[in-house]
């Protein structure tokens, strides 16, 4: 029996349906869309040369966001606690190169433009706010922890409620989204007594940073640089560093979250295509087979 026109139409109808089905598996963001921060995005500029390591920012963050204290290590003299956690969203790190002055750095979520956490978040709990920063909606978070795993800086942490059930919530700096969206400055910026933290439009802050860099370089800080102008599509927490980023434990080039993009933008649509093709192929095959196979001949 030949494949007649009706059968052909049924099977090719399946193919068309497949393409439509695969569309629903496409990520919300287009595959080829180039991510670029807008000049008007809000941003934070941290100036390492002005920071005295008082950690008022750290305290203000805890107070505003209602974060509990955490136990510390005895040997940790300055970096205390040692790293970010679900209870500490920002902290001052102290890097000491041999025989040189210590380098302070404020560690926190950098609010990447090409944010891996947003790419992989299945619930939309992490999203890019129209003001440019990476916002978080705790109501939507289901605690899957993909953000923790995919962030190239290891910033988000899970507040685990039960190891057994996996109940958890992601946590990270949100630029004090409840303050900045109503026109206030983040708590840490508000608390900084030395002017090491600036808040404003990203474009203006970059211009300001470049002026400060010229001054610093004139004062003998030859390696002074602006961190975050280009990294990860452009960070929204920028830093003036006095030495190479590596001296601060920061990567000069942040690896693009290629695995996250492969996952979300290649595997998911392809999976949708494969599943859709199979479903419709099977339905088509059933409709054709039902007519062609005579049960009287079946053993």
């Amino acid at each position: 029996m030949q494949l007649n026109r009706r059968d052909f139409l049924r099977l090719s109808g399946g193919g068309l349906g497949t393409l439509l089905t695969s569309g629903v598996f496409l990520p919300k963001r287009g595959v080829k869309e180039v991510l670029r921060p807008a000049k008007a995005d809000i941003a934070m500029l941290y100036d390492s040369s002005k920071c005295v390591g008082c950690r008022a920012c750290q305290m203000a963050c805890k107070r505003w966001n209602g974060l509990p204290p955490e136990s510390t290590e005895k040997e940790a003299l300055y970096e205390n606690p040692r790293g970010l956690s679900e209870k500490t969203w920002t902290l001052i790190k102290l890097r000491t190169a041999q025989g040189e002055k210590g380098l302070f750095h404020k560690y926190q979520c950098w609010h990447c433009t090409d944010a891996a956490c947003v790419t992989v978040c299945p619930t939309g709990a992490l999203y890019k706010h129209e003001m440019g920063f990476t916002a978080f909606d705790a109501e939507r978070c289901n605690g899957c922890g993909y953000c923790v795993q995919f962030c190239p800086f290891g910033v988000p942490h899970l507040q685990v409620e039960s190891l057994l059930t996996g109940a958890a919530k992601a946590t990270k700096c949100t630029f004090c989204q409840d303050r900045v969206t109503v026109g206030q400055r983040p708590a840490c910026v508000e608390a900084c007594p030395t002017g090491a933290l600036l808040w404003g439009q990203r474009g203006e802050l970059i211009a300001e940073a470049k002026e400060r860099l010229a001054t610093l370089q004139g004062e003998g800080f030859a390696k002074a640089n602006l961190y975050g102008e280009k990294q990860a599509g452009g960070l929204h927490a920028l830093s003036i560093l006095l030495d190479d980023p590596e001296a601060y434990g920061l990567p000069t080039t942040v690896p693009t979250p290629s695995l996250a993009h492969i996952w979300q933008e290649v595997i998911q649509p392809l999976g949708g295509l494969a599943l859709g093709a199979t479903i419709l192929g099977v339905i088509g095959a059933f409709l054709v087979a039902r007519r062609n196979i005579r049960m009287e001949e079946v053993k």
Binding site: P122, N142, Y146, Q149, P152, T165, L259, L275, K299
Partner: protein, 244 residues
């Protein structure tokens, strides 16, 4: 056993032969009963359009079901290995591919979809399609196990790049096994030629006529099955040469 055809006085006699043990059937259905919720709950995290179901408390519940079902799913083949290791080995050996599988693949579309009575090469206890299903499911089980355990217990301790790879491989295993599952479901439940498949997985028995037609190498033994196949082929080519 005599079966009366509905609405007529005709009757056919079916001779039954055993195919699956009670344990095999129980494990098969438990495997299906955990696989389906695993796919449904997994898809909620996987497909962006199901995102709303993954949010907040609902999402936590979905993840809990996924883990609970995964534990049972992971243990079922191990139960088989412990209780009936010889049967497991016997069945695994049946998954080895041979040259008759190529002939089966060539003829499968015509045979199963267009209803052409082409002479399909004789098959063993499992036909090529069943072998493909079995092999994909075994590989998927291993992949799900390894990647799932890393994702569950390695969170925060394994390097992020490794974790990301685990997520991707988990997804790939899902895509392959779900496609296979859909075809398997169609053939076993809805396809007219495969009526005996569902019966054998339910009652452990298959029809002797069905076995002779679909699993000749198992029913007659490989040597005899090939002899019959070649003789039938010769007969058919002579008949067509004589213009019958």
């Amino acid at each position: 056993m005599t079966v009366r055809i509905r609405g007529t006085s005709e009757a056919i006699t079916i001779q039954w032969i055993p195919k699956y043990t009670l344990l095999e059937r129980t494990l098969h259905w438990l495997y299906a009963a955990t696989f389906v919720p695993l796919v449904l709950t997994g898809l909620i995290l996987y497909a962006p359009f199901l995102g709303p179901l993954a949010r907040g408390g609902a999402g936590e519940f979905v993840r809990l079901i996924h883990r609970g079902a995964a534990v049972i799913f992971g243990f079922l083949p191990i139960v088989y290995l412990i209780i009936q290791p010889r049967r497991l080995l016997l069945n695994l050996r049946e998954f080895i591919f041979d040259k008759e599988d190529i002939g089966w693949l060539k003829g499968a579309f015509g045979y199963y979809v267009l209803g052409k009575h082409t002479d399909m090469p004789p098959q063993g206890r499992f036909n090529t399609g069943e072998k493909l299903n079995g092999v994909v499911m075994i590989l998927a089980w291993v992949t799900f196990g390894v990647t799932g355990l890393v994702m569950w217990f390695g969170k925060g301790t394994v390097p992020p790049a490794l974790f990301s790879c685990m997520v991707i491989f988990h997804d790939l295993a899902m895509i392959a096994s779900v496609c296979m599952f859909l075809v398997h479901l169609f053939l076993a439940v809805a396809h007219p030629l495969m009526w005996a498949a569902l019966v054998s997985m339910r009652f452990g028995l298959t029809s002797a006529d069905y076995a002779a037609e679909h699993h000749a190498k198992w029913y007659y033994g490989p040597k005899r099955a090939m002899e019959i196949y070649k003789a039938e082929k010769k007969e058919a080519s002579e008949a067509s040469r004589l213009g019958h």
